[in-house]
């Protein structure tokens, strides 16, 4: 067991535990904060997988953008002082059964049941940002442009929908 393995287990534990709390805690604000740790854990796993740029983006976008957005959503839809902030749950028992079934199927039947032809590629130690940038403006330039337009549309659309004037 080397340092790589230890770090992996650490991050995996952070991710899964915090995710568990995200979905199980009744307080919506707690959930949001637990989500923060989940995102961090996933970012750590990305680093372990050699995707340093993706990890940075994960932290910037998710933690800096999405999570803040979600918190705003929580605050706009629930008065903070209100007890209502504790959200209810439903169909817990069937959901537990179903999710366990799903997890079992995914783990044992799909991932472990498949003979992955894994080839250990050498991710260069230097940052991947240069290579990714090159790909984005060569092979994936069309998707890149489209995503830019999409983000613009989303910006306008979200503002329009949320404003909802009479």
């Amino acid at each position: 067991m080397n340092i790589y393995d230890i770090v992996f287990y650490l991050f995996a534990a952070i991710t899964l535990v915090s995710a568990f709390f995200v979905v199980t805690t009744r307080n919506i604000v707690y959930s949001a904060f637990n989500l923060l740790f989940t995102f961090f854990g996933v970012a750590g796993l990305y680093v372990l997988l050699g995707a340093d740029f993706v990890a940075v983006v994960q932290i910037m976008v998710y933690v800096g953008g999405i999570l803040i957005l979600i918190l705003f959503g929580v605050m706009l839809t629930n008065k903070i002082t209100n007890v209502q902030i504790k959200t209810g749950t439903l169909q817990v028992i069937p959901a537990v059964i179903g999710v366990l079934l799903l997890a079992g199927v995914l783990i044992f039947k799909v991932f472990l049941g498949t003979e992955w032809k894994s080839v250990k590629t050498d991710i260069p130690v230097k940052t991947t940002a240069f290579a990714l940038g090159k790909l984005l403006i060569t092979d994936y330039v069309l998707i890149f442009e489209l995503l830019g337009i999409l983000l613009l549309v989303v910006l306008i659309g979200a503002a329009t929908i949320a404003r909802r004037e009479k």
Partner: protein
């Protein structure tokens, strides 16, 4: 104990996915449902990146992960706008109470 490889990441991803589904299914609050969706998306991303390392795909997996993150951000923005609208219309964000489609 085996060395950490592809399967480890996949298992973490599968568990994360299942938790996300659990969150989507069991939470009443629409915002909580959104959080579950984020978990699911993260598990998918984890798979992309893991296969980018262990499969012979170069950096394409990471590009896909980047795109997913962008889409997730867009999706969250739209979804929250919708949630706000729903809140204004129904004065609630509990998805089980919003079943007008049933009628």
């Amino acid at each position: 104990m085996v060395q950490v490889g592809l399967n480890h990441f996949l298992i973490v991803s599968a568990i994360l996915f299942s938790l996300g589904i659990f969150g989507i299914v069991t939470r009443k609050n629409a915002v909580m449902v959104l959080m579950g969706i984020e978990l699911v998306l993260n598990s998918a991303n984890l798979n992309f990146v893991a296969f980018a390392k262990y499969g012979n795909f170069g950096l394409s997996g990471q590009i896909a992960a980047l795109f997913v993150i962008i889409l997730a951000a867009a999706e969250t923005a739209i979804a929250l706008a919708i949630v706000l609208n729903i809140y204004k219309t129904f004065s609630t964000v509990n998805v089980d109470e919003i079943d007008n489609l049933k009628e």
